[in-house]
């Protein structure tokens, strides 16, 4: 397995664990309330966790709101689908236009809601968040794979220098 594949696999596993925690928090509320509370506490600094703005599962709200849930789950979906559409070693990035497409609807939804001009609903939050999560991995994966490869090369060259100096 190449470094590129290992990097990709680690990212998929980390994101899957992150999404698993979101689902486990309500699922464990009955059988293991302590673990469930700890999971909710872990996600608390990054999300408001308002009940009315969250999806529900097993009779409890998910550990993050509907917008955040959509972002993370579509992020995971896009990550899993990534190798089906692009080679992992492919370094070219999509046009910046798609970043605007990814962020635009979410910014518009949040801003209009804040200004009281439009009331965002579970659907608008889920769709705008989901769009962001679907598009972002196509930018993150090529840059991350390249970054890990560069760091490895830098570390190897430093290690080589260290051993060369030691041998002198």
């Amino acid at each position: 397995m190449t470094l590129t594949h290992r990097t990709y696999l680690v990212v998929v596993l980390l994101v899957a664990a992150w999404c698993g925690g979101i689902l486990l928090a309500p699922a464990l509320s009955g059988s293991m309330p302590g673990v469930s509370s700890a999971l909710y506490a872990c996600y608390e600094p990054i999300c408001h966790q308002i009940d009315a703005r969250s999806f529900h599962s097993d009779g409890g709200k998910l550990a993050v709101c509907a917008r955040c849930s959509s972002i993370y789950f579509t992020f995971l979906l896009a990550l899993i689908a990534y190798p089906l559409f692009r080679r992992l070693s492919e370094q070219s990035l999509p046009s910046r236009f798609w970043i605007v497409v990814a962020i635009g609807p979410m910014v518009v939804d949040v801003t209009l809601n804040f200004l009281g001009l439009h009331g965002s609903t579970l659907l608008t939050r889920a769709v705008s968040g989901g769009l962001f999560g679907l598009i972002v991995p196509w930018y993150i994966i090529p840059v991350l794979v390249e970054a890990v490869s560069q760091l490895r090369s830098q570390l190897l060259s430093r290690g080589g220098l260290f051993y060369a100096r030691k041998a002198q």
Partner: protein
């Protein structure tokens, strides 16, 4: 060719911004939207670093973005905790109650004007209450530092990598990753 500028200075600036945004009650509400304040801090770090690079220096690399994000996230986590503790210890219980009552009046006025929804205001009030309740509790301080040290670097790295994708040169030289 000149060497690249130090990442530490930029990481300190962006980490401080992340810490301030994440710890000041009210402003910290931005983090309720998927840690937006933190990952925007990662984008800021990348932007500031890119601005410092001149033509005589090597090109910005994706590994720079990764390291910048990591450093800004760790510094941001410590800064946020320090600012939180400073706010709580400086204000004290009496002053904190005073600030709370003023903040609540302002928030109620915003609801009357229609600028904010009641659930957002309730959330901000809860944040202020939580800050006062957590005052001086060491286990809470270390607990939040522990979570911040895990969560902040993840989001700042994502922000910096996204920033790299946004601020990259339009025609980058073709590169391939060695297996």
């Amino acid at each position: 060719m000149l060497e690249k500028p130090s990442k530490l200075r930029i990481a300190l600036i962006s980490g401080t911004v992340i810490g301030a945004v994440s710890s000041i009650p009210g402003i910290s509400l931005i983090n309720c939207c998927c840690c937006a304040g933190v990952w925007l801090g990662g984008v800021l770090a990348l932007y500031l670093y890119k601005k410092q690079l001149t033509e005589e220096m090597p090109q910005l690399e994706s590994s720079d973005a990764l390291m910048l994000g990591l450093m800004a996230g760790v510094i941001g986590a410590f800064t946020a905790t320090i600012i939180n503790v400073l706010i709580l210890f400086t204000l004290g219980p009496v002053e904190a109650e005073l600030v709370k009552s003023i903040a609540e009046k302002v928030l109620d006025r915003l609801v009357e004007q229609g600028s904010m929804t009641t659930d957002m205001v309730d959330l901000m009030k809860e944040q202020i209450d939580q800050s006062i309740r957590d005052a001086g509790n060491l286990s809470n301080i270390f607990g939040s530092l522990f979570i911040a040290l895990i969560v902040y670097p993840i989001f700042t790295i994502l922000g910096a990598l996204l920033g790299f994708a946004i601020f990259r040169r339009k025609t980058p030289p073709p590169t391939t990753v060695s297996p």
